[in-house]
Symmetry: C2
Subunit: 216 residues, 2 copies
DNA sequence: GCTGATATCCCTCGAAAGGGGTATTTTGTT
DNA sequence: AACAAAATACCCCTTTCGAGGGATATCAGC
């Protein structure tokens, strides 16, 4: 049997402990080699551009640039790179978001290590793995990101920040404290968000934001 | 220098990868010895009852019995055990919840491994570590759990129905119309839901429900 | 019988939300 | 410099929430 080159993989996750777990799990396998790590989306993109690994394993929930946003960028830079989203949640919206951003797969952090290794090697061999869960949702991998959402909903930077706070369940007072604004200003922005999203309540706004992947 | 017995520690987290990371990090230190692991709250309680470690490190977000609920139970069984909550979120409410359940400390998963080791050894030596963050929230460790022993989430059928309506963005009036109830009844159930989920707003309730996969 | 859990309904009251304005300052782009 | 867009802040107002109190009725289980 010929000796194959190991699959090179890049890890991005904001939890050092988890990265260590992954690294060590892969070290034990000579078919996979970890070539780099990052703890946020920005860093991940920069390093991946430099390292060009076979596979990028990106956590969805990272500070700064989120995994989904990073995936979107990477998918444009490397149309053929195998990108796997890693996440704590099996939330349907998160999954759709990641897949829409251009991920080739979505993996739960509850995954067993051997399964993960198997998934990665299969991916590298060109076989697409579509879990029954993804099929249930009617999602198939390798979708191209729907023509750059640039327009979004015309939300400004500030409005997106506030929307994000909103999605975290904060009330106006907490949001004002988080962003160092007056409550009145938050209310003003909130009105703009509601108008742009055609939402009638904060819950409605968050639901619509999730649906349209505005939370990145 | 005399040779001390290593601190025995129990790990509970539903992510095998993270547990592996922790285990390996501790293996490198001869001052800490991992005596057991679990991937859910029920299992953790059973094993901890059998093993009686010096320190229990429990993830807050686990399927089945959550970390906070497990902490509450363990605190009653072992009033003096050092219990540390581990979490992805630096959400004030989560922190308060864990501390109220009887945790001695709250640790973010973004923690550096060396810091974690230091924290644990300090704890074992009897020194309480109160992070500036906890102080900001006016929280001090070693609080006794307030009797409230609501096991899992224990939502009733009706409460689940209302929670679902809530997640759809309905207000109390719409919910009452949907379920043929008076608004007052909806409010009563809503209060129960808030209490059980420890939510402070409807958005918060929905967020927590999503996180704990209560919406299906 | 008693108890506990569930479900239903009612009241008050202060705090937040939500909708309508207007106005100033900052920032970015012609 | 001129202009547009964004960000900030405040006013008014009504409705809805959410936290306190209660209360009654049913049904299961001991």
């Amino acid at each position: 049997m010929e000796k194959e080159k190991p699959v090179t993989i890049f890890l991005a996750d904001d939890h050092p402990l988890l990265r260590m777990g992954l690294s060590l799990a892969f070290q034990a396998k000579d078919t996979i080699r970890v070539v780099g790590e990052a703890d946020n989306g920005f860093d991940a993109i920069e390093k991946i551009k430099a390292l060009v690994p076979d596979v990028a394993l990106l956590d969805i929930d990272m500070p700064g640039l989120s995994g989904s946003a990073a995936i979107r960028v990477l998918r444009k830079l490397f149309p053929d790179m195998k990108i796997l989203a890693l996440s704590t949640y099996n939330d349907e919206q998160y999954i759709r978001e990641a897949m829409a951003a251009g991920a080739n797969g979505y993996i739960m952090k509850t995954v067993d290590i051997d399964n993960l290794v198997e998934i990665i090697t299969c991916f590298h061999e060109g076989r697409e793995i579509v879990s029954p869960y993804l099929l249930d949702l009617g999602i198939s991998p390798q979708q191209r990101p729907p023509e750059d959402d640039g327009a979004a909903f015309g939300l400004t930077r500030r409005e997106k920040q506030i929307l994000k706070c909103l999605a975290e369940g904060k009330d106006n007072k907490q949001i004002s404290a988080t962003l160092y604004l007056s409550v009145e200003t938050v209310k003003t922005h909130m009105k703009s968000i509601f108008r742009k999203l055609d939402a009638r309540s904060r819950l409605d706004a968050v639901t619509k934001a999730r649906r349209h992947r505005l939370l990145e």
